[in-house]
């Protein structure tokens, strides 16, 4: 069993090294304002496709959403304005959610009854966040994005997870909304009965999560899962599944705002979406063979580096 693990490490290390070397090298090459040539137009979309392919693989391997990796890396190292990166980032997160959503809903690992009230609040706040993000000066946004990404790194480092949290009693709101359910734990075959508590507090958290998702074009899975699992007491499987599905509701609203404000350039969006989706497919195959712990640490490192880059860009360095 150890052999495939070891053999899978090498290409993954190569992928990480490639991302760490190629992206900054490409960024350095683009430091000079691009001069349009008759054949040069395809270079950036091609590099974007390759990088997003790597992002898709790493996203699956580390359990982080593609949007969270996409926005800081592409805005930090590509000569593309943050407006277009955020627009593309929302579509990357949206397409990932649309691809995973049907399977999760059918397997009852995403709960529509849990997602509907949360989605309503989060999507309304995502619209507000998107409008705030488009109104703020880019330098301020870069600094805020960097700070948010550093916060995400902290959440990834510190947040604990609880497989099936103890929920002594469902609260009045979740009882009124009928938020409860059963699911079959695939590994053990057990049927787990779940309910939630602290729904009002959880819904308040989604105000902030929605604003951040809309403002920075980030998929909000990094915040959804702890809010659903640790605060509201949903089992981890339900939290992860519902969070992924929830992105399809939250990010749609913000994506429309960006789309209607001219922040969607097909030459950026399509290679990114296709790259991340293909990368996810490859990542799932690798995940079946191995899940090296170093990938998560490496992703946290890449995110922290991209966050510092965003802050330095915001400060004008």
């Amino acid at each position: 069993m150890r052999r495939p693990l070891k053999s899978a490490r090498e290409p993954l290390r190569g992928l990480l090294l490639g991302l760490c070397l190629v992206v900054p090298a490409y960024a350095a090459g683009q430091a000079v304002p691009p001069t349009p040539g008759p054949t040069a137009w395809w270079i950036t979309p091609l590099v974007l496709f390759v990088v997003t392919l790597g992002i898709g693989i790493l996203a699956v391997m580390s359990g982080v959403g593609g949007g969270v990796l996409f926005v800081p890396i592409v805005s930090g190292f590509f000569p593309i304005h943050l407006d277009f990166v955020r627009g593309a980032g929302l579509f990357v997160a949206l397409c990932g959610a649309l691809a995973a959503g049907p399977g999760l809903l059918r397997a009852n690992l995403a709960s529509l009854r849990l997602a509907l009230p949360i989605g309503l609040i989060a999507s309304l706040c995502a619209i507000a966040g998107a409008m705030m993000g488009l109104a703020l000066p880019t330098s301020v946004l870069q600094i805020c994005l960097g700070a948010t990404i550093l916060g995400i790194c902290l959440v990834m480092l510190l947040a604990r997870k609880s497989e099936v949290p103890v929920v002594p009693r469902a609260d009045w709101l979740s009882t009124a909304l009928g938020i409860y359910g059963l699911y079959r734990e695939p590994s053990s075959g057990k049927i787990v009965n779940w309910k939630i508590h602290r729904a009002p507090l959880g819904l308040c958290l989604f105000v902030v999560i929605g604003i951040l998702a809309g403002m920075f074009g980030l998929g909000a899975g990094w915040a959804n899962v702890p809010a659903l699992n640790l605060v509201m007491g949903a089992p981890l499987k339900i939290s992860v599944g519902t969070s992924k599905f929830l992105l399809s509701i939250t990010d749609t609203s913000a994506a429309w705002v960006y789309l209607n404000n001219g922040c969607v350039i097909p030459l950026i969006v399509v290679p990114s979406v296709v790259g991340v989706m293909f990368g996810s497919l490859v990542g799932v195959r690798i995940l079946k063979v191995a899940k090296p712990a170093f990938v998560r640490w490496a992703v946290i490192g890449v995110l922290a580096f991209a966050a510092l880059r965003a802050i330095s860009k915001g400060l004008g360095y």
């Binding site: 277009f84 809903l105 209607n260 399509v270």
Partner: protein, 176 residues
Amino acid sequence: MRFLRLQSAVISGPDLEKTRESPVPLARDKPEVAAMTEEIEGSVQAAAEQSRYAAVMEKAAHFGLLLLLITFPVYVFGLLEPHTPLNQVSRYWALDAAEYCAQAQVGTGWSWVSMLGKGDFLNYLGITLLASVTAICYLAILPQLFRRKDLIYTVLAVLQLAILILAASGLLTVGH
């Protein structure tokens, strides 16, 4: 009520199998216990509206992605002339969105509909369909929620649709 009865149930799948095979008569062999077990098994399945949502989501998302995969080659291989020549796009993506719209003469909101004959704007068909999938899914489950007299969730779905329509309307335009 059903929920209250099931509230304490954490039943092991393999255990269920074992007891089914047991020659000793068990409590679960009684009709009411067997019915309850069947009910629990049924509750593990997704609710009707959830299954419908999944089916519609899957079809619409696949169609949207297919549209993207068809229209993008049409654009990049020059089968349809783009509004912004391909070799000039990189001049604009370093600008902010408002400047890009002004310099590239690209309208905001739904103005792209009138430019669907251009290779770059043709891609908006797939992009807007992907952005519309959630609204389509809500429209698909609304009659089921209404028929089941699930008043709270019917209202939530209608409000969500209103929010999505507002976001998609193009009324929410902002500039730096």
